[in-house]
Symmetry: C2
Subunit: 484 residues, 2 copies
Amino acid sequence: MNLDTIFSAAQEAFLSYKNLSGSKKADFLEKIAETLEENRKAIVLMACRESNLPEGRINGELGRTTGQIKLFANQVREGSWLEATIDPADPHRSPLPKSDIRRMLTPLGPVVVFGASNFPLAFSTAGGDTISALAAGCPVVYKGHPAHPDTSKFIGECISQAVEKSGLPAGVFTHVVGGVKMGQDLVKHPAAKAVGFTGSYGAGKSLFNIASDRDEPIPVYAEMGSVNPIFTFQERMTNELVPLAESFVGSLTLGSGQFCTNPGLIFVPRALAENFENAVSEAIKKAPDSPMLHEGIAESYYTALDNLKTRSELNWVKVPNAKHLINVSPALAEIKASDWIADDLFQQEVFGSFALMVVYENEAELLEVAKKLHGQLTITLWADKSELKSNEELINILEEKCGRLLFSGVPTGVEVGYAMQHGGPFPSTTDVRSTSVGAHAIKRFARPIAFQDMPEELLPEALKNGNPLGIMRQVNGKFTSEKI
Amino acid sequence: MNLDTIFSAAQEAFLSYKNLSGSKKADFLEKIAETLEENRKAIVLMACRESNLPEGRINGELGRTTGQIKLFANQVREGSWLEATIDPADPHRSPLPKSDIRRMLTPLGPVVVFGASNFPLAFSTAGGDTISALAAGCPVVYKGHPAHPDTSKFIGECISQAVEKSGLPAGVFTHVVGGVKMGQDLVKHPAAKAVGFTGSYGAGKSLFNIASDRDEPIPVYAEMGSVNPIFTFQERMTNELVPLAESFVGSLTLGSGQFCTNPGLIFVPRALAENFENAVSEAIKKAPDSPMLHEGIAESYYTALDNLKTRSELNWVKVPNAKHLINVSPALAEIKASDWIADDLFQQEVFGSFALMVVYENEAELLEVAKKLHGQLTITLWADKSELKSNEELINILEEKCGRLLFSGVPTGVEVGYAMQHGGPFPSTTDVRSTSVGAHAIKRFARPIAFQDMPEELLPEALKNGNPLGIMRQVNGKFTSEKI
């Protein structure tokens, strides 16, 4: 099928699908979740085989995938996400009567989605991007990830079954396969109105450039990962050195270090550096080498480490075991904060279980670090209350450098909920205004529209006087779920 | 002052200004409005002289300017715009305890604003872009418009006075002057985090390109105008032919045709074309030639008409009077819908009181028109209820082509309120997800941030358990203004 045919079906489908009620959209999304659950065994088998990820993880990821589908289903069934805003008419206003103006969100149009290799389910074919776009009312053209082609195709078929069972036009979801050129052509197609992407900086930024260079530029929501720094402080660390070291190594090596929130950078005060290093070293020895998603990723990991090994600023706490075709071998190197500050290269993500431990002399040095730091998905602070208090200036700057700021725990384990923000300043994403996880992700695929003096019978349900959906609306600036 | 100095002051100011309470930000904004009112006489005198706009209009525009300042002040004092979203912890969740996650909007950072020549007050120095950015918590670096340099400089001084009186750092607002190169350098500066612009397609698109090509791409909210088509239908027109013709001409010639919502395109059914043409012709004759903002704009107007005059598809209903140095002379040409469809050139905006009247044979032809139509700020329908009913397919497509759909009245006269949407699909703006008028405009300059397990005493007011601001929040997915 050529792209014109695909997008023309998607555009045609859009014109009816966008008008489907929230409740029917929710039924459809739940039908997708149901179809995935019915095929759980086959999916898990396929995804394990293609991703090298263990069955427990893939089973869990499928649960997460259907869980987030249900979250979006609930959200569109409830309906308040539409941001209905009503300024009623005032025919008696002087000098000029005031028109009736009603505003709500409406879907953007067909969306192109690229899945991630590191989440063959939750960030792939039926993952957050696809589902939030469908929830918003946008048809999706999905490009299968070459790292898990069978899983992607099979899940694509599950979605298409749900489309059919729900009596929707087939163009609501299309699964395509192809190489880099195909990806570029999808983004270039005039009918595409937005792009969702999770993956490497190189690929994400190149899609952003293509989308910006179109005759009609379109938004690209590329989540490109980051090094997710952890800032540690004397008191807190002294009290919990070993458990924090173990948490850190646990997070670093989880899923072979292949999470976008993997902590690749940890700042440690000089006085504790040796003790922490020892504790980490103990923990890291217990972490076995483990398989990565595919050979290409393993190859990149070892190449990146080979490059770093040439740098005299680094002191290796744990060198990786001999290069392996597919397994990642956790590694850790130490560097002084002043050296880290001097070269942006030390901010580059190494995909896998590698971290830089940056030893700082004093808290003033951390201000320099913070100003220099690139945009991150997350930043974590391990500090006690008095340390938080005395580092307000630092925290104030760190807020500008991330999408999520953690005060305990580790950055891996991204909760799917209403308040989650999974996105951050460039280069962690191409659009700092967006999240790719959680309920707010739906807003990436919508835009506002206002209706002026629209007859009541034509108004969308969300904007009718009687508020038949019972949603939260802003009427004359006040939030209310009452009718007008 | 060089740009590094300016932006370093803006960035420094940002780190404190962003943390100012909503109520103090509101006081500051109101201080700006107050300072403008105190200087009303001087401002009106200057703006009239520099814009050629009549005193009544400029007086009204100043009222609109201070009115919208008060709208944003109210909005930030109230605080619900922050979209506070709270997912409380659940330490007992199995298999893993759930962290406390709280999300809200936070300002982007220093914003570069370019004013519009056609609104020397409401879309310029203290206009909607500047004020919504300040309201969001972003310092503004404003480039004065060369068409009204004295007005811009003077209003810049009023804002700086308000900054000083409010005890804020001077870097919260900086007024700069310069040419095209200066504008480009502002957008290129690494400390700039967003751009607001109102003006021509050429200038807006070029700023968008520069911003997208930066090492760190930033959002550009360029409102570049459109031709704001009016679609008319047989029954409605038959009943109200003369008043509608007069409304149309009134809107077309208002402010010398220099509004971004000026109706430059009107679709009329064949059966009524002659009658409507006569009525418009009568009305247009009564509309006097009137001064444009400056000679360059007048020159462009006549040049555009000279180009159109070479087109054999056009039938001139009213040719402009002889070219004038500064006055616009209203003009109207007729074209068949099939000819209009055949050439995109007929969709180009002619800034000033010129419209194309497109005569269509039947409503099926309008579907072709709609599919072909570029993105617009507004689209207006003059149809009776039965005509709206029988044109649902058309309306469904037109929704995809505009930011505001009107069912009575004319597109000029953009209401400043909560529900206004002034923005639309490309090329009317560079970001269809945004509005440059109304309360929602503030969201252009904010991004979400999530705090995970942040100690209560560090949480921003908007996210504290007790809800001290009394704002509407989403807690566990439910909207509430209660405390937790």
